[in-house]
Symmetry: C2
């Protein structure tokens, strides 16, 4: 029996979910607070490109869009580390650099998914309509027509809140009793800057790498765009002696870049202007529970679990949500309450694990990626993966290139790390014992000859 | 220069704060969402009595109300443990039972504070007015007239949000960028039941004790009221085989009470009726930061830091907030931003510590208070306090009977525990060595006589 799903949010997760549901014969009313992104320019300050990896690709494959998306994506086969001085260092994501994550345009992918949704006969898309909140007992949702400023009340059969980190659906849930909720901001914000294309739409630095300028307490990264440009993102504290708050002027920023990112200065000709006009944006982790209100409403993507971007998994996790939710709706289309609860039960431990992994990876990227110890660790990881493929898989591989649930990947990596430490210690101890034994034998031999 | 403070919430903290500010020559507009509590009956299901202790008393002393409050309070000198069977056990809060916490009526104290506020010429109180939210840039607050249903916009110079755990002021702060926020519900709720007075308004069980029925994963407590009755509070899971969800009927509750709290059954004649009509209420911990928006608004009491009730410190901590905020406003009345920031800087680590202590104390009360090990621990604590008064002070004493900041009390108790463990281990080790030495001497002696 087909149902009518009201989806708030036609971003990446909402649009994909609409396609999934429509393909299963359901009707979808898809509301998006922004105007149609396919007409007009995308918002400034939203991340411009994203890293699409295995989990996200699998979802796109299911709706037949993976090939089209990957054709216009740029594979990044490893990290390119930019030190303050000295040569660049490339660290492949896999031993033979055959594995890659894919830099895709957020707006391009969103447009593609919207068009796919609109091609489905069961989907109706309503732009410039924002969910202000809803009453779960009656199913009535308050929707603001952003253009006219009027508010209308719509009736819903069941709602999917895919309306992002600041979800209106979730804010109504938060007013209910016993809804656990947290929003935690990083002390760092980010600012986007552009490395324009070289003549002939070619890239000024290696296009098949994710570029990182690790600087201890802060860092800059750059992802390639299809048009030859790169989008750089500086992650920097809001407060303190060196921070967004204390350095508003482009001149000061240029000075700072000359000191910290000397090789980037000639690549970013509009640095001063970009600095003064692009806003610094904040980074938030959102956790909540429960994700559903009976069979009336359920959260999806950032609305359920906004994470910081440092594992490049936000979109990939949201696409995994869509697959999971569609599967559970398939299993019990007449009992959405169970479907939503099983989906949340499956996903919540994994997105909680991802939230932590993403926070940890900020430290790893900004602080450790540049160090010789980190490079050695990556070499040992690749060696272990090659020597004991059944027994050792790196955390980065599991998260990025496998479908191992995030929580399982996190737990397994912790077990592996403990085992490696134990074996290393054991080997060292055995070696030490052997050395002592050898010494004793040698001394005994020496003593024997000398005195006996 | 006098300022005009708009305070949302005329509960315990808001009313006290109004008195503090008025005494310092400021004007106060005090808004309360409920009607005047001095006319009509108090809400059902709100906690009826509270434990007033040293920190709270100090604030009441400053405004000259402590004597009046303490005259109608009932001192509780320790815990009275009610096991499933067997005799009651009294655990004094101090060795000689000279220290007491005070059971006071929430509505009585609130009325007293409201009247004190109204006696101040600078204070105007507005009942049935609820803050829906505010715009911090313009200082305009939206206030709902609960009786007429009309919304009005009022101009504020500066706002104190004392509007409780579900603060409207705070919910406006939450919509701003980089506001950290969490609300965490316990899996347990609570339900209030009544032990009526015996003839002649006397108490049916010891009036000078906080009664506890510890049962491992749940518990009941009872605090004495002035009229001879006790208010019992059952803390019980919402979900699971034995829980509020699965036991809605009074008959089942009676059965449950006969098994778990046999001595309480004859004391609660209206058990079945109370059970079915008193709602189960939830328990939440709220943490947030920052507590202020420049000099425009600041949070106070539960609005800033709702805690679970298991340390009996919610009101006491809020009164300490009032003292701290008044002191910082005194220090820089012309720079409220600094005043608010210094107040938050002082209080936030302490209320964070209290939130954790209150959660921990639930485990201690429900799970450990009944055990012989806990009784021994309390005896050792009292002995250490008597033997080494400078060096050892119990956590409960510091929290309840001193002005030691909560965070300091928590850290000191942790240090003390570690030291006690270390000394105990050291003593045991020394004793063990002595025993071994004695054994060796004895054996040597024995061997000497026998074989030499």
């Amino acid at each position: 029996m087909p149902r009518t799903f009201t989806i708030f949010g036609a971003g990446l997760a909402g649009a994909l979910m609409a396609v999934y549901l429509a393909r299963r014969g359901h009707r979808v009313e898809l509301f998006e607070r922004r105007p149609d992104p396919r007409r007009g320019t995308p918002e400034r300050g939203r991340s411009i490109n994203l890293a699409l990896s295995t989990r996200g690709i699998a979802a796109l494959e299911e709706i037949g869009l993976a090939d089209e998306v990957l054709r216009s994506a740029i594979p990044m086969r490893g990290r390119m580390i930019h030190p303050r001085s000295g040569p660049l260092a490339f660290q492949a994501y896999s031993k033979g650099a055959e594995l890659a994550i894919n830099s895709v345009s957020r707006s391009g992918l969103n447009s593609l998914l919207l068009s796919a949704a609109e091609r489905e006969p069961g989907v109706r898309v309503h732009f410039s309509r924002r969910c202000l909140g809803m009453d779960f007992d009656t199913g009535k949702a308050e929707v603001l027509d952003v253009e006219s400023g009027r508010t209308e009340t719509i009736d819903t059969e069941t709602v999917i809140g895919a309306d992002g980190a600041f979800s209106g659906v979730r804010s109504s849930m938060q007013k209910r009793d016993r809804f656990d909720y947290s929003q935690d901001y990083l002390e760092h914000g980010y600012k986007e800057l552009t490395i324009p294309a070289a003549p002939g739409a070619t890239h000024r630095i290696d296009r098949n790498a994710l570029h990182i300028w690790p600087r201890g307490t802060f860092m800059m990264i750059a992802l390639p765009n299809q048009d030859g440009s790169f989008t750089c993102t500086l992650f920097w504290p809001y407060k303190g002696p060196h921070s967004f708050d204390t350095m508003p002027s482009g001149d000061a920023a240029l000075e700072f870049f000359r000191r910290e990112f000397p090789d980037a200065v000639p690549l970013i000709p509009n640095l001063k202007d970009d600095w003064e006009h692009n806003p610094a944006a904040s980074l938030v982790t959102v956790r909540c529970a429960p994700w559903n209100v009976a069979g009336c409403a359920v959260l999806l993507g950032d609305a359920a679990h906004a994470v910081v971007p440092f594992y490049g998994q936000g979109m990939n996790a949201s696409f995994e949500d869509c697959r999971s939710l569609a599967r559970h709706i398939d299993a019990s289309p007449d009992d959405l309450r169970s479907a939503y609860e099983r989906y949340a039960h499956e996903r919540k431990p994994n997105t909680d694990a991802l939230a932590q992994l993403a926070l940890d990876n900020f430290i790893e990227m900004r602080d450790k990626a540049g160090s010789p110890a980190f490079r050695r660790k990556k070499m040992v990881e690749h060696a272990l993966e090659a020597l004991f493929p059944r027994w050792y898989t790196s955390l980065y591989f599991m998260v990025t290139f496998s479908h191992t649930p995030y929580a399982e990947a996190k737990a397994r990596a912790e077990r592996q790390d403990r085992a490696v430490r134990r074996w290393t210690l054991g080997l060292l101890a055995a070696l030490g014992l052997l050395l002592i034994l050898a010494a004793v034998i040698l001394i005994a031999h020496f003593v024997t000859r000398k005195f006996w």
